[in-house]
Amino acid sequence: MEILDLLMLVYVFVLAIFVGFELITKVPPTLHTPLMSGSNAISGITIVGALLSAGAEEFTLSTILGLAALIFATINVVGGYLVTDRMLKMFKKK
């Protein structure tokens, strides 16, 4: 990776943070817990990296680390989305 490539990624990072700020300031306090668990599930996106490492052809140290990462990330993703849905189901207006 060249420094310029890195800079392009930094661009995306900074802009995405601004998008995040704009979106999240609009979330009402009543939904702060589901926001947290739902965004937490999104941070499990690191699962993509785990899949790449765990699926390598040769079995190396990298595969073991990838498998551990995959288990962690899957717990994060599956647990996070399910528990968020469980909570959001309860928010009702009568």
């Binding site: 890195l6 702060h32 941070s43 993509v48 140290l61 990298s62 551990a68």
Partner: protein, 463 residues
């Protein structure tokens, strides 16, 4: 093929953004969460088609094991245990990012002879942030689950040790970037960061957990972003940045809710609380407290027109949310207007009270945030405090010597009558006496929240 997968990664990123946008209203929130999970599903499927993925045994094992643990956790956890659940999930996310960075490092050093500077820098950052998030979250989980003490823990040379450890890991990072063949440095960095996570969260007290959990949530996002830099993947960077921003905003809201700086919370603050708390406790004995029995309390509620219920962590501990809803129902049947006032830092995580009340089937339009209800307490006949303490202490408004001076509070003392349900006159988290309890218009209704409220409901029904 790569073009297709890049496009699908873009779609997934857009779905994450839309998902969070829809979390802006309780009506669309559930749909938003589903959009976001669809994005995740697409991202996973496309990754499985990547040319680097050649064997599937370990992937199947990982996904099956992870999904099983994740679903059991998500379906079994009681709503009162939500703060520790989120804490734990943060930890897994952070840990996964650190592990991915390690795995990528080994993969890249096999493929290329030497790592370039941008890659090695981001590997180091992923490992630092991911490891701190991992152990920090485990300690936060332990504190919330009461495995680790919920008290503020102080150890000698607390700050110098943390700063020193941080500097050593930065130095090791620099050595690694200069010469990426020094794998020892990566292990050193990981080890120090794991210790640092423990040391940073250990001093934070139980009631400051909303800040700690929000901050760790932010870290788990930033760790995912850093992994995106390592993998050169924009989708990871975007998703991680969204989470990072979300955590930071919640952290700021929580700090404002306590009128404290982030540094003060992280360093285990409210240091002055011990001194003034003891002083305030000293003259407690002289002050008269008016207490009330269920029958009198029932009559008081019965003659009210406007009732506001203020829940706090005590409601969660006593699992009294269903009893509270029962009370609201009984009063509403009598034509009494019942609302709920929720302080931003009530409970152990942002929005904790709202989730418990939603579980008890309280309609969300009856839940009012501090700024939406505070000017209306003058018109309230009965304010009913259930397990909240410091957030309703009027000393925060006028007593410059109070450690909580300046903290925004719910002005319940402006109501005609305040009924406080509490087990005893014990102090709250800030360690100070609550002058609300001795107010002329305050009645103490002692007892365990669940029992006391159930008794109250029966009395009101009998009237």
């Amino acid at each position: 093929m790569q073009i297709v997968s890049y496009l699908i990664y873009l779609i997934a990123s857009v779905l994450f953004i839309f998902g969070i946008k829809k979390l802006g209203s309780p009506k669309t929130a559930r749909q938003g969460n589903m959009l976001s999970s669809l994005g995740m599903f697409l991202a996973v499927v496309v990754t499985l088609l990547d040319q680097r993925v050649l064997t599937f045994e370990y992937i199947i094992i990982g996904i099956v094991v992870g999904s099983a643990i994740g679903s059991v956790m998500a379906l079994k956890v009681p709503m009162t245990g939500m703060p520790q659940m989120v804490g734990l999930l943060n930890g897994f996310g952070g840990g996964a990012s650190a592990l991915v960075a390690f795995a990528e490092f080994y993969h890249l050093s096999d493929v290329h002879s030497a790592l370039d500077i941008p890659t090695s820098v981001t590997v180091v950052l992923s490992i630092i942030i991911g490891s701190v998030t991992f152990t920090g979250s485990l300690i936060a989980f332990g504190k919330l689950q009461e495995i680790v003490t919920g008290k503020v823990v102080k150890y000698p040379l607390q700050n110098p040790i943390n700063v020193l450890l941080f500097l050593v890991s930065v130095a090791a990072g620099v050595f690694f970037v200069i010469d990426p063949a020094q794998i020892d440095m990566l292990f050193l960095i990981a080890g120090i960061s794991l210790v640092l996570g423990v040391l940073l969260v250990l001093p934070i007290g139980g009631a400051d957990m909303p800040v700690a959990i929000s901050l760790l949530n932010s870290y788990s996002g930033i760790a995912a972003s850093m992994t995106g830099f390592v993998l050169n993947n924009n989708m990871l960077i975007i998703a991680g940045a969204l989470v990072g921003a979300s955590g930071i905003i919640l952290t700021i809201i929580m700090c404002k809710g306590m009128n404290r700086s982030l540094m003060n919370v992280v360093l285990g603050g409210w240091e002055t609380a011990g001194g003034t708390g003891a002083a305030a406790g000293g003259d407690k004995a002289q002050k008269p407290v008016k207490s009330v029995d269920p029958e009198e309390a029932a009559m008081l509620f019965d003659s009210a027109q406007n009732v506001v219920i203020v829940p706090g962590y005590g409601m969660a501990v006593a699992q009294a949310q269903h009893a509270v809803r029962e009370l609201a129902n009984v009063l509403e049947k009598k034509g009494i207007n019942v609302r709920f006032a929720i302080h931003p830092v009530a409970g152990r995580m942002p929005g904790h009270m709202n989730v418990l009340l939603a579980e008890a089937q309280v309609s969300y339009d009856k839940l009012y945030a501090l700024e939406d209800i505070n000017d209306d307490f003058n018109n309230v006949d009965v304010a009913f405090i259930v397990g909240a303490n410091d957030v309703v202490n009027p000393a925060a408004r006028h007593d410059k010597n109070s450690p909580i001076y300046g903290m925004p509070i719910l002005n319940v003392d402006y109501s005609k009558t305040v009924v406080v349900n509490k087990r005893s006159l014990n102090v709250g988290y800030a360690g100070i006496d609550n002058e609300l309890f001795y107010g002329d218009n305050t009645l103490m209704y002692f007892g365990d929240a669940k029992d006391a409220i159930t008794k109250l409901v029966n009395e009101i029904k009998g009237l």
